[in-house]
Symmetry: C2
């Protein structure tokens, strides 16, 4: 079933006007017509079954019928990632949505070549990936910020898994297993992935000096930024996130 993210409130009997892009996707790309079903979510009201009402040249209408799933949100996990080349950054955002990150925070570090990103384009990628992966919210994309500023304003109570490519940290699963007990039960976390050139010595030193930081190593081979992001999010979800609990359904 096609799933679309909308910004309207969802409830039985609501009539929704999808965006022109969504209407075109439904009727022209996917060839859906009057009476066909789809699912809608908005990040707040759960997932709802809807049906295509009128179709015109200007678009279509969607009639909301019944709730399919109650709203649920994954773990409070941020992916913090240095700006890397556009194609890889877009992959990272797509995968962060699939792997259940709640936010993607873009950062600029000493060895980052760029200082801006096409945030609106990344948001559109996050929406599309959320629609396809079946989640009921869309990861927030935050515009680029300097690493130092990010660390200056670090939110109290959020732990940070720092993927340290210098190979001087414990293996990731071992390090996460030794994280303080109160950070292992649904507490807020973030995963930090540096630029392709790695972190500068003073950036590493600052990160490693912070109490809320758990440095980890992702094996003996050099990983590209997109691979490192996917690996780290997967390990975090499996060790501390919602992959731990998700198993056989009755």
């Amino acid at each position: 079933m096609i799933r679309l993210f909308v910004t309207d409130r969802l409830g039985s009997g609501a009539e929704i006007a999808p965006t022109p892009d969504q209407a075109r996707y439904l009727t022209s790309v996917m060839r859906r017509g009057v009476g066909d079903e789809l699912a809608l979510f908005n990040g707040a009201d759960g997932e709802w079954r809807a049906r295509i009402g009128e179709v015109s040249k200007r678009g279509c209408t969607l009639s909301v019928e019944a709730r399919l799933r109650a709203q649920e949100t994954g773990p409070d996990l941020d992916l913090i990632v240095a700006l890397v080349k556009r194609a890889r950054l877009e992959t990272i955002v797509e995968k962060a949505a699939e792997l259940g990150a709640r936010r993607v925070r873009l950062i600029v570090t000493r060895f980052t070549n760029a200082d801006h990103a096409r945030v609106e384009r990344l948001r559109a990628i996050a929406v599309e990936a959320a629609e396809q992966t079946g989640r009921l919210d869309v990861p927030e994309i935050q515009p680029p910020l300097a690493l130092d500023r990010l660390l200056d304003d670090w939110p109290a109570g959020r732990s940070l898994m720092f993927c340290d490519e210098a190979g001087e940290a414990r293996p990731a699963l071992e390090a996460l297993a030794k994280a303080p007990a109160d950070t292992r039960a649904d507490a807020p976390w973030a995963v930090l992935i540096g630029p392709e050139g790695g972190f500068a010595a003073d950036e590493r030193a600052r990160l490693r000096s912070l109490d809320h930081v758990t440095p980890v190593t992702l094996g003996p081979r050099i990983l590209r930024a997109d691979t490192a992001a996917i690996s780290a999010l997967s390990l975090w979800q499996a060790a501390l996130g919602d992959w731990r609990r998700y198993g056989p359904t009755p």
Copy 2:
């Protein structure tokens, strides 16, 4: 330092003629010239420092000097992956090289749309990824085979982590932790990733009936094939492979 994979034997004093593509990459793309250093590996003799000798219109020569690292090979891990769209399959091969798979075995399943792949192109991608990730071998790419044939001829002693998207298996880390003890110490394994449409009911039933198969679930969200492959290889390496041991160096 630039790393190149060659098929020649490597030893002190050897003179190597790189392929035309490698010579062009060295001299035209990377602007290296006579006397510049690079590293060579061939999957058998370790990694060697070499230096560019002559440069001519027809190519260049490489003089092998000293061994930088002894030969080493990662865990005996196969990635078995159903044919998916070309771009995603190419990504999967690149990531399998980064994540230390020894072989990539392509399969055709009931819900696979294609029955052939550009194996030579995938081999070239594997070589390039191996060069960049720092490993001393290149994953072997095996041409497509029917899943049933693969299972008929399954090699004795190799365990299989079956990523079952139906959500009826244990969480991956829990399942791997419960795998028989004799399969957890450097024993041969494989990771199996299905096509985007999933496995057919009889394929799943056969897989789940086999003693050497460990079915696992990768969380509550739908993952694309490339994401599932990267996640599964990362979890396997972290739980049973060489990410377990790789930590602080003296």
